[in-house]
């Protein structure tokens, strides 16, 4: 048996699976935005409002700032 499965209790594994489903499953809200000026539609954006957990997004933003 692998070390991982020996080290983790069944409760731990259940928790990991549940969190994975909470963040990776569920309904994804989608939307669309049209940006226009003076009544003329200029830009269309198709949106998926949730693409990643927010804390991961924050980490990516912070890394981007550091590398900029």
């Amino acid at each position: 048996m692998s070390d991982d499965m020996e080290r983790w209790s069944n409760e731990d594994v259940a928790l990991v699976d549940l969190l994975d489903r909470v963040i990776g499953g569920g309904v994804v809200i989608t939307g669309e935005v049209v940006i226009g000026i003076a009544g003329v539609d200029l830009v269309y954006l198709g949106l998926q409002l949730v693409l990643a957990p927010a804390h991961e997004v924050e980490q990516h933003v912070a890394l981007g700032r550091r590398s900029a």
Partner: protein, 218 residues
Amino acid sequence: MLLYAVVPGDATAPDRQGLTGHRLEIIRSALAAMIVEECTGDFHATKENSLAFAELICSLKTIAPMLPIRFPTMLATQSAVLAQLQANETAWHHRLTELQGLSEVVIRAQWPEPEPERIDASFIPTGTSYLLSRAAALQRRDASVAEISELVREWVREIKVLPSQQGIRIACLVANDDIPELKEAVLGWQQAGDHRHVVVNGPWPPFSFVVDQEAVGA
């Protein structure tokens, strides 16, 4: 507003506080409703908040069939929530009807990988030997998925293989009454095999089955 779940249009509002301490509200359209929480100030999707969200969603499951919303999803206003409801209510209502009395369980199976064969002490692994061992591992994985799928076919309404770095994870949509039998069958399968480790997690709300897969594929 922090979004929790889509429920039937006539579902009663839960008498609960949400993650940020506000009372949960319900916003309704004709065919569906959404459980939400007014969310003022900063909200961070920490591990603790994710876990609290999961526990709250699981506790709400007793109120009505539900489609959990992926955490963390927020919309700015009640009217934005209502617009989402109105845009999707027919599909959501249909799916909620299908999911009545069903829950998700996740079967996680893992087994020891065999040591690579060595012809003699001077054997040096090559790219080819690596690829062959990977192919064998994938074949073992596919065979196990097929074996478990066949094992639980009697009780499962829908099935979905989830990504997994080790072993396999299979999400199953099962009638609540059938879950004990399914668990018993899977644990029997574990005992019949050599050193394989199997865990059945859940039952949970149908996180992996919020969308009708047949409708998506059509």
